[in-house]
C-alpha cells in the first residue's frame, strides 16, 4: 500500500525475470539429453564402429567376445510394440466409436477417466501382473510359451496404451462437426454407417496420430518388458521366445555396477540415442498428422 511506484515497477520487472528464467531453464533439459546421448555415444563409437552397430546381428556385450549389433534389441522392441498395437487398435477403435457415437453423456463421463487411469497404473505393477498372471494363463492356451516371452508383455502393453488409441481416437471423432453427421442421417444412413463412412474418414489423421503415439509409448516402455520379456537379446520373430528390448537392455546394465566410461556404460547411451531417435520420428509424424486435423474444416 505504501510501496512507491518505482518499487512496484522494480518488483514487476523482477518477477518477469523470475518467470522467464523458469521457462528458459526448461530448454536446458533437451540440450542436456542431446549432449549426454551424443557425447557418450561418440565415445562408444570410438570403440565399436557404427558399421558393426548397424550391421552385426548379435548383441553380446557381457560375453567374452563382445558383439554390438543393435538389431536383436530393435527387433525385440518392435515386435512387442507390434503386438501391443495389434491388440490396442481393434479394441480402441471399437470403444472410441461406441463412446463417441452411441454412449450417453453419463457413460462417457465414467468411461473416460477409467480408460485414462490405465496410464496411471504403475508400470512395475503391470510387470508383476504380466509375469505372474497373464503369462501362466497364456501358457495354458499357447503351446511352448516360455516363462519369459514377448506375447504377454505385448498384450498387456496393448491395454496400457488404450488412453492413446481409444481416448485420443474418441477425441478426434468428437471433433467432427455434428452437422456432418446430421447430413448423413438425413440421407438415411444408420449411425454405424455414418461412423464408418463419414466420421472416421473425417477424423482419420487424429485417430492415426493416437495410434502412432501409442506405438511410441509401447516402444519406450521399460518395466513391463524388463520384468516379463526376459533379458535375452534374440533375433527372432517367435513371440513365444524370450527377447530383450532396447529399454530392457538399459535396465539390465544399469542394475549392475557401472564404472564410468566403461564400454557397458557407454553402450547404454548408444542404445538410448537410437531409442530417442525412434521416439522422435514417431512423435514428429503424430504431431504432423494432428496439425492436419485443423485443415479439414
Amino acid at each position: 500500500m505504501f510501496s512507491s511506484v518505482a518499487h512496484k515497477k522494480f518488483l514487476d520487472k523482477l518477477m518477469l525475470a523470475v518467470f522467464f528464467t523458469a521457462g528458459f531453464i526448461t530448454i536446458f533439459i533437451t540440450i542436456g539429453i542431446v549432449y549426454v546421448l551424443l557425447s557418450d555415444s561418440i565415445e562408444f563409437f570410438k570403440e565399436v564402429s557404427i558399421k558393426e552397430f548397424l550391421t552385426e546381428k548379435e548383441w553380446t556385450p557381457v560375453f567374452a567376445t563382445k558383439k554390438f549389433g543393435i538389431w536383436p534389441l530393435v527387433a525385440g522392441t518392435f515386435m512387442i510394440a507390434a503386438i501391443a498395437v495389434a491388440v490396442s487398435i481393434p479394441l480402441g477403435l471399437l470403444i472410441a466409436i461406441y463412446l463417441s457415437e452411441y454412449a450417453s453423456v453419463r457413460v462417457k463421463e465414467i468411461a473416460k477417466p477409467i480408460i485414462e487411469f490405465l496410464e496411471a497404473i504403475p508400470t512395475v505393477v503391470y510387470g508383476y501382473f504380466t509375469l505372474l498372471f497373464v503369462t501362466p494363463i497364456l501358457q495354458k492356451i499357447v503351446p511352448d510359451l516360455e516363462a519369459f516371452n514377448s506375447l504377454a508383455p505385448g498384450i498387456v502393453l496393448g491395454f496400457m496404451i488404450l488412453p492413446y488409441t481409444a481416448s485420443m481416437a474418441e477425441d478426434a471423432m468428437k471433433g467432427v462437426p455434428q452437422r456432418i453427421r446430421e447430413a448423413s442421417y438425413a440421407l438415411g444412413a444408420t449411425k454405424l454407417r455414418t461412423a464408418v463412412t463419414i466420421v472416421i474418414p473425417a477424423a482419420v489423421s487424429g485417430i492415426v496420430a493416437g495410434f502412432i503415439l501409442g506405438a511410441s509409448r509401447a516402444i519406450g516402455e521399460t518395466m513391463v518388458v524388463a520384468i516379463a520379456a526376459g533379458m535375452y537379446p534374440n533375433l527372432t520373430l517367435d513371440p513365444r521366445e524370450p527377447i530383450q528390448t532396447m529399454t530392457g537392455y538399459i535396465v539390465q546394465v544399469a542394475l549392475g555396477d557401472l564404472p564410468f566410461g566403461s564400454i557397458e556404460y557407454l553402450s547404454i547411451f548408444a542404445v538410448g540415442l537410437a531409442l530417442f531417435v525412434i521416439a522422435f520420428v514417431f512423435n514428429s509424424i503424430a504431431l504432423w498428422l494432428r496439425s492436419r486435423i485443423r485443415e479439414v474444416y
Binding site: V36, L99, F282
Partner: protein, 306 residues
C-alpha cells in the same frame, strides 16, 4: 431389405462396443484383485510397513521404500513449484510472441511439447550422465527428485496453462485499469483463480511420477537399503539442522517401485507376496491421488463459472 440390416447394425454395434469397454474394465479389475489376493498376507501385516528389506521374505518390509518415495516426491514437487509452474505461468501469462523473446518462447513451447513424448528411461540416462557423473550428486535423493521433476514438467506446464487460460480477459483488464502492474495482477487475481487447476495438474503429475521405476533404476538406485536417511530435526530451536538437510539430500535411497521390481526379479516365490503387497500399496496411492485430482477439478469447475 437393406433398411432392416442397417437398423440391426445399430443395435448390435453398441453392444459390441460396450463389450470392448467391459473387457477393459475386467482387465483392470483382474489386475487389482490379483495383486490384492497375492499380497493379502502381507498387506494386513502391520510389521510389513515398519520393517526394512531382508533376505528372509517373511521379515522383509517396505519401511525404507515408502520413506524414500516420500522424500523423493517431496523433492520432485519442490522443483516443480520452482520451475514447472512458473514456466507454465510465463508461457501463458507473460509470453509476448514478439521479437527475440517471441522466438525464445516458441522454442520453449516446442521443447516442452517434445519432452512430453520422450521415453521415461531417457530421462534416467540424462540423470545418470549429468546429475550422477558430471555434477557428482551421486545416486542420491537429490538426483532422484530432480529426475522425477523433469518427468513431471510437461504435465505440469500443460495443466498450469490450461488453468490460467480459463480466466477471462476482463479480469486482467479490470486490474490494469485500476493501475495494477502485471505482477500485481498475477499475484492477486491469476494465481488465486487458477490455483485449483494448477494443483490438480501437480497431483496428476505426481501420481505418474510416484510409480516411475525405469529412470530411477537407470541412475542406479539401490534396492537393498536397511537404514533411513538421518533426521534433520533437532530438539532445539530452530528445530531443523541445515547441514543435516544436505546429508539427507545426498543419502542413498530406495523407492517403492524399485523395491517391487527387486522382489519380482527374485526367484523365490515367497518374495512375490511382498512384491504384490507393495504393488497394492502403490496402486492405492495412485488411485487416491487421481481421485483427489478428479475431486479438485470438479470443485474448481463449480467454484468459478465465468
Amino acid at each position: 431389405m437393406n433398411k432392416k440390416l442397417n437398423s440391426r447394425s445399430d443395435i448390435l454395434f453398441p453392444i459390441l462396443g460396450f463389450l470392448a469397454f467391459l473387457i477393459v474394465i475386467s482387465f483392470m479389475l483382474t489386475l487389482i484383485i490379483d495383486v490384492f489376493i497375492d499380497g493379502f498376507e502381507k498387506i494386513k501385516d502391520p510389521s510389513f510397513y515398519t520393517s526394512y528389506p531382508s533376505r528372509f521374505p517373511s521379515q522383509a518390509g517396505i519401511l525404507s521404500g515408502w520413506i524414500g518415495t516420500l522424500l523423493v516426491m517431496a523433492g520432485a514437487i519442490f522443483w516443480s513449484l520452482l520451475i514447472g509452474i512458473p514456466a507454465g505461468i510465463y508461457l501463458e501469462e507473460y509470453a509476448t510472441k514478439r521479437g527475440i523473446f517471441g522466438k525464445i518462447e516458441t522454442i520453449i513451447e516446442l521443447n516442452i511439447n517434445n519432452l512430453a513424448a520422450v521415453p521415461a528411461i531417457i530421462y534416467g540416462l540424462l540423470a545418470l550422465g549429468i546429475f550422477v557423473y558430471r555434477f557428482k550428486f551421486g545416486e542420491s535423493i537429490l538426483t532422484a527428485g530432480l529426475t522425477l521433476s523433469i518427468l513431471m514438467l510437461p504435465v505440469i506446464v500443460v495443466n498450469t496453462r490450461e488453468a490460467i487460460r480459463r480466466i477471462p480477459r476482463d479480469i486482467r483488464e479490470g486490474a490494469y485499469a485500476v493501475g495494477a502492474t502485471k505482477w500485481d495482477t498475477v499475484r492477486d487475481h491469476i494465481l488465486p483463480y487458477s490455483l485449483g487447476g494448477i494443483l490438480t495438474g501437480l497431483i496428476i503429475a505426481a501420481s505418474r511420477a510416484i510409480g516411475e521405476t525405469a529412470p530411477l533404476v537407470t541412475i542406479g538406485a539401490l534396492t537393498f537399503i536397511a537404514f533411513l536417511p538421518p533426521s534433520p530435526f533437532t530438539s532445539e530451536f530452530p528445530f531443523i539442522a541445515p547441514d543435516k538437510i544436505w546429508e539427507v539430500l545426498m543419502s542413498p535411497f530406495t523407492v517403492l517401485p524399485i523395491q517391487i521390481f527387486n522382489w519380482v526379479s527374485r526367484p523365490q516365490a515367497a518374495f512375490q507376496i511382498n512384491a504384490a503387497a507393495a504393488g497394492f500399496v502403490l496402486l492405492i496411492l495412485t488411485v487416491l491421488m487421481n481421485a483427489l485430482a478428479y475431486y479438485f477439478r470438479q470443485k474448481v469447475r463449480r467454484k468459478y463459472i465465468w
